[in-house]
């Protein structure tokens, strides 16, 4: 019995020599390495980490690439043809011929009105009985009536504008023989010539993925250490707060960067989003964005020490703002001014615009540099508070 314990002591370093010397080092590379190794092993072995870091991003990217589309295509509308004239017939045919509208022909507006009420149609166009007379008339008066479903404002707007467009194009075609309007407008959209929303959404989704990994995962894993009592054990060793925090962050920084590369590869090779800027710029932006993301996660876990609360706070302070207020889904310029002001505090705002630039436009450093500076500043702010709030003891 005692022999065993003697062996223990025989090999041990005497207290007060090596150890004492190490304690004086506030920062010790070997301790940090041990912590990083521990965290990495845990991350690899924990199925929920893999789920959040790899499966969730793929699901999100697919959702934003295919399921969520801000483009309007094949909107179902009715065309009520009350006139039998040749001109009216040809206008109705013009409606049927576009690739953005799917037309249900009708003779009486009552037939289609019910379908708009029930949501089967998004609106209808009435070509009135006196269409030919209106057409011939010199007085400026409306040629057709457009009724739209105002419960979906975006689509309603689209239907109204597009119907007008069809009528104008049709009118222009009819008068092709005559001298056309002096100036013809031909719009061109830069950076996303086909105006495919996927091209803007997928780069933005990378920001969401990074927020989840940086903020949510970090908040969760630190809170978990508190809950399981391992933090208490580690705090009772000579490891310093800085070592413990960096040991926590480095592996998730690595994980975040891997997830960025994976998402970027998916975006380029699967979703056909062009990467017009350089990979270096993309990685630099992602790395700097991880500063506020990780800092926020760390701050949350320092404040709550409880996994459930940490995930809720991460959801409301990290995920939702970067979803709603970053310009990813909703354009910031269209928001009320007070909300616009708030968006300046959301690190994802800077990241989303940078990502869209690096993917769709190229390396525009005049855009990147201010964004990088803003993200770094917010990040350092989070870290400063997190460091203040994390003490090397259990005092709250």
């Amino acid at each position: 019995m005692n022999d065993e314990i003697i062996e223990v002591h025989a090999g041990a370093t005497p207290v007060g020599e090596v150890n004492q010397e190490q304690a004086n080092h506030k920062f010790d590379g070997r301790r940090l390495f041990a912590l990083v190794r521990k965290e990495s092993l845990q991350a690899i072995r924990d199925p929920s980490t893999i789920l959040i870091a790899f499966v969730l991003p793929v699901v999100l990217l697919f959702l934003f690439a295919y399921a969520v589309s801000l483009d309007v295509r094949e909107v179902r509308i009715g065309v009520v043809l009350e006139s039998d004239g040749a001109a009216a017939q040809s206008l109705a045919a013009a409606f049927a011929g576009t690739r953005y509208l799917k037309v249900t022909p009708a003779r009486d507006r009552r037939e289609v009105a019910d379908q708009v009420v029930s949501g089967k149609l998004r609106g209808f166009v009435v070509i009135p009985q006196d269409f030919e007379r209106r057409l011939a008339s010199q007085l400026p008066q409306p040629l057709v009536q457009v009724i739209t479903d105002g419960s979906q404002p975006n689509t309603a707007n689209f239907v109204a504008n597009y119907a007008q467009g069809v009528v104008q194009t049709w009118g222009a075609g009819r008068s092709a023989g005559m001298p056309a309007a002096a100036i013809q407008l031909e719009p061109r959209y830069w950076f996303n010539a086909e105006l495919e929303s996927r091209r803007a959404l997928v780069p933005g989704a990378i920001a969401i993925v990074m927020t989840i990994i940086g903020t949510m995962l970090t908040a969760l894993v630190v809170a978990r250490e508190w809950e399981r009592g391992t933090m208490e054990a580690v705090l009772s060793t000579p490891a310093s707060v800085v070592e413990i925090l960096i040991g926590k962050l480095l592996p998730y920084f690595g994980l975040g960067m891997i997830a960025t590369l994976g998402s970027a590869a998916l975006a380029v090779f699967v979703f056909d989003v062009p990467l017009r800027g350089s990979l270096l710029a993309l990685l630099t932006l992602s790395a700097v964005f991880l500063i506020p993301a990780l800092g926020q996660g760390l701050l949350i876990s320092a404040l709550t020490k409880n996994q459930f609360l940490a995930s809720q706070i991460a959801l409301f302070s990290g995920f939702l703002p970067s979803f709603l207020l970053s310009g990813f889904l909703f354009e910031i310029d269209a928001m009320p001014v007070p909300i616009q002001t708030i968006t300046y505090l959301i690190p994802a705002r800077y990241f989303v615009s940078s990502l869209q630039t690096v993917f769709l436009a190229g390396d525009v450093w005049s855009v990147f540099l201010p964004n990088l500076a803003a993200m770094a500043a917010i990040g350092l702010f989070f870290f400063a508070i997190a460091k203040r709030k994390t003490r090397k003891n259990l005092e709250s």
Partner: protein, 595 residues
């Protein structure tokens, strides 16, 4: 020891003070965790930090290991102030927090390497330390196993190995025996003994008062105050001439206890198997208890004092013997004498068998205990018997109702008090009472009357509009009991009813349970307090999903009598049973291998 000179850095046995606690105070908000006291902890000694939950043990531990800052006073460990020389504290002390502080996703070896590096040791340079620690803890064969997959006892040993890295001078163990079966607990005592023999100061905190008797020195805490400091013997000696046992009254023992506790000269009493154990108040004479013994024909004999009894004596004695609750309840009448029965009861979760063909019958008015280490299957068995889990195989009946078919009818016949009382913190005390009356289908006049009765019986009036969360522990327990008895069930299920409760509250609780049993209420109880099994008429021991023994506490103790333990305790009996069950397993495995 002979090969090891006692001169290693002054670590000689019992030389010098390891920890000095100087009028230390600590409060969290309004709660005073430590109320200022002085104490010394010595090298080469096992010092028990003993007290019920909420006494301030963990707070003191955390202050000693530099994780909390005292509000007043100071603590010095190995010559370093815990606040000023915080870094030095982390080197001089090894600390094992509650739940051992292990990373469950890491293997045994990975955990050890992590803590070695954090303490500035290189695993490769010190492979001899690893080897000897693995040998010491007997974890050698399991180095690749994930810590999360270890049993409670093995986790505890790994936690100890991690805390022992780099040879701390003071080892602080916070409730190391919680969730660990008695066999592993023995192992830990053995290891700690070896460490103190070698000059280390070891502090062992525990809520199990019987563990205090094994410590060389004890700091007894209660409500943040130091009630006693010294060898446990010194405290138990105070009641040496005042501890007695009444024997020869097995059928009447509950009645006898109740009457004994109502005597002015008796401060405390418990049931111990077939006997009743009493402690007289300081300065009281034997006359009253002698007269009572004569009256009922019991023999009165002096016994060895126990630490827990001494603690209760120190606090001024336990509660009286009359249960106001039982007084009000009508005697239970059942058609059959069997209240609860199960036959070949089995529960499997996938491949894992949690309960393996368990059969027993419990008579009306019996107190029946279900004992076993964590994971033995007692909770699963218990849950099947109260209709919370569906058995995979076998039958179970409560008051004649088949639990597989008539779950609802069976449930109306039983009261259930879950672990940790499970009261609704967002409802007031009155609303909790009303809710439980409602779920058991009481209405109108009956409901009002029952609730009023419970309020009066348990003296809950002053707390009616407060939340159960802010109640003192004793009242919380009363309320939980009131809720589970609202519908006057003939069978009462109690799942770990007294864990985390101080000994006086436990005494009061058992007074009620004894009273109920005398009225014919059948009580089924699980517990991990071994001495509490003594209150039971019969005890079923579970181990690895199987029922390994079923008998009266006295018979179980008698069977485990040996030269080493001439007067075994319930815990000795338990260890004996588990060890022989393991021997049987090994023997049958050998037989199978031979065949």
């Amino acid at each position: 020891m002979s090969t090891h000179p006692d001169t290693d850095g002054g670590h000689t046995r019992d030389e010098g003070v390891a920890v000095v606690i100087d009028s230390v105070t600590k409060h969290f908000g309004d709660v005073e965790a430590l109320r200022g006291f002085n104490a010394d902890i010595h090298y080469g000694r096992l010092t028990g930090l003993v007290g019920p939950d909420g006494a301030g043990k963990t707070t003191l531990m955390r202050i000693m290991t530099g994780l909390l800052v005292p509000n007043g006073g100071s603590v010095t460990l190995a010559g370093f102030d815990v606040v000023e020389d915080n870094d030095a504290i982390h080197i001089a002390s090894g600390y094992m927090p509650q739940r051992f502080g292990l990373y469950e996703d890491l293997s045994v070896m990975e955990n050890m390497r992590l803590y070695a590096r954090l303490r500035g040791m290189d695993a490769d340079q010190h492979s001899d330390i690893f080897k000897s620690l693995l040998e010491f803890t007997r974890l050698g064969p399991f180095t690749k196993r994930l810590a999360g997959k270890l049993s409670g006892g093995m986790k505890q040993k790994l936690g100890l190995a991690c805390a022992l890295m780099a040879k701390p001078r003071v080892l602080l163990l916070d409730e190391p025996s919680v969730g660990v079966d008695p066999v592993s607990r023995q192992d830990l005592w053995r290891m700690v003994q070896a460490l103190t023999d070698d000059g280390m100061a070891v502090v062992w905190s525990t809520a199990y008062l019987d563990e205090a008797e094994r410590c060389e020195s004890v700091l007894l805490l209660n409500e943040g105050k130091l009630e006693f400091d010294g060898p446990p013997q010194e405290l138990t000696d105070r009641i040496k001439q005042r501890s007695f046992r009444l024997t020869g009254v097995s059928d009447e023992r509950r009645d006898l206890l109740s009457r004994a506790l109502d005597l002015g000269s008796v401060g405390d009493g418990v049931i111990q198997g077939d006997a009743v154990r009493v402690v007289l108040r300081d300065g009281a004479g034997r006359e009253e208890i002698d007269a009572l013994a004569d009256e009922v024909g019991a023999q009165l004999e002096p016994v060895q004092p126990r630490f827990e009894d001494a603690f209760i004596d120190l606090l001024g004695g336990g509660p009286g013997g009359t249960s106001a609750l039982a007084e009000r309840i009508d005697s239970v009448k059942l058609d059959s004498e069997i209240a609860v029965s199960c036959k070949e009861l089995t529960k499997r979760f996938g491949d894992f068998t949690a309960t393996d063909s368990v059969s027993f019958e419990v008579g009306r008015g019996e107190i029946f205990g279900l004992l076993g280490p964590n994971g033995a299957g007692k909770s699963t068995t218990f849950k099947m018997l109260c209709g919370l889990l569906k058995p995979t195989d076998g039958e179970a009946h409560v008051v004649g109702h088949d639990l597989r078919r008539a779950t609802g009818a069976a449930k109306s016949q039983l009261g259930y008090m879950a672990q940790k009382f499970s009261l609704y913190g967002l409802l007031t005390v009155r609303q909790n009472l009303e809710f439980s009356a409602g779920v058991y289908g009481l209405e109108g006049g009956t409901k009002r009357q029952r609730i009023e009765e419970m309020i009066e019986t348990f003296d809950l009036k002053q707390y009616l509009s407060t939340s159960p969360d802010s109640l003192p522990l004793g009242y919380k327990q009363r309320l939980a009991l009131a809720c589970s008895l609202m519908h006057r069930p003939p069978v009462l299920f109690l799942d770990e009813p007294t864990s985390g409760v101080d000994p006086i509250t436990r005494r009061e609780f058992w007074t009620h349970i004894n009273g109920l049993a005398r009225k014919g209420v059948t009580v089924m109880v699980t517990t991990h307090f071994m001495d509490e099994a003594e209150y039971c008429d019969r005890v079923a021991m579970m181990y690895r999903a199987k029922l390994i023994a079923l008998d009266t506490p006295d018979a179980l103790k008698r069977d485990s009598r040996s030269d080493k333990h001439p007067d075994p305790t319930m815990e000795d009996a338990f260890i004996h049973l588990i060890e022989s069950a393991e021997l049987d397993d090994a023997a049958s495995a050998d037989a199978q291998a031979a065949a």
